[in-house]
């Protein structure tokens, strides 16, 4: 009963030129689609969570096709933690600002006091701000979850 990792090292699976070139071409379009899903989330199916998962999956694809170190050049462990906390702060901060300016938690039309756009415009814009926060948090959490699981918690070499 052999470990999969030993078989992988012996057979040198994962060093394929075709897969590396295809993922180089695909990753910008995957990230563009993830941004579209986040930004267009309040008009059509999608939203912060799904778009964040798609953005995180692009980093997972980078780590699978190349190396974990190569993927961590583009988003380091520190940046990932910072982005996750920024996303959570945007979500809670928007809700708390609504509560401070006289509404309930996440009652966006109360933000009309801050910048006068009209309550209807603020209901649409508030959902957008919250979904950007959710997308940031989910993206960095999905990427760091895969890095920790793939490298056995040591973050030096992965799949």
């Amino acid at each position: 009963m052999k470990l999969l990792q030993e078989q992988t090292q012996k057979l040198k699976i994962g060093e394929s030129l075709i897969i590396q070139t295809a993922s180089r071409l695909l990753i910008p379009f995957i990230q563009l689609f993830g941004l579209y899903v986040i930004v267009h989330g309040h008009y059509s199916p999608g939203g912060g969570f799904q778009g964040g998962v798609i953005l995180g999956a692009s980093f997972v694809l980078l780590a699978l096709a190349f190396d974990q170190k190569f993927s961590m050049q583009y988003m380091s462990e520190k940046t990932s933690g910072l982005l996750a906390n920024t996303g959570a702060l945007i979500f809670v901060g928007t809700g708390t600002l609504c509560a401070i300016f006289g509404g309930l938690f996440l009652h966006y039309s109360a933000l009309d006091v801050l910048i006068p756009l009209g309550p209807i415009e603020w209901r649409s814009f508030g959902i957008f701000i919250v979904e950007v926060g959710v997308g940031l948090a989910v993206m960095s959490n999905m990427a760091i979850l895969f890095w920790v699981l793939g490298s056995n918690g040591e973050m030096d070499e992965g799949l």
């Binding site: 009963m1 470990l3 999969l4 990792q5 992988t8 899903v37 199916p45 999608g46 939203g47 969570f49 799904q50 998962v53 798609i54 995180g56 999956a57 997972v60 699978l64 999905m142 979850l145 895969f146 699981l149 793939g150 056995n152 992965g158 799949l159």
Partner: protein, 81 residues
């Protein structure tokens, strides 16, 4: 609601669920679980819940399959029971 399509997807779903818990090879079980997730996504989309179907396709069939494979890589491939 097209009930023939519904019945087809549901029967494939049950087959995939039974196969995923009975198979001994954990890598195969993971791939069959991905197929199960994608059939579930088709079923949600066919019933009109497109948002849930989107979540199921990205999380269930996309990320969780990769995470399962990353976890299997550090254990043995064949299950003991």
């Amino acid at each position: 609601m097209i009930w023939i399509l519904d019945l087809l997807i549901l029967s494939l779903l049950v087959i995939c669920a039974i196969a995923a818990i009975n198979i001994k090879d954990l890598l195969s079980a993971t791939i069959i679980f991905g197929v199960y997730s994608f059939l579930m996504c088709l079923l949600w989309a066919e019933m009109g819940a497109v948002d849930v179907a989107f979540t199921e396709a990205t999380v269930g069939a996309g990320i969780s399959t990769v995470l399962f494979i990353a976890a299997i890589l550090h254990t043995s491939r064949r299950s003991k029971d």
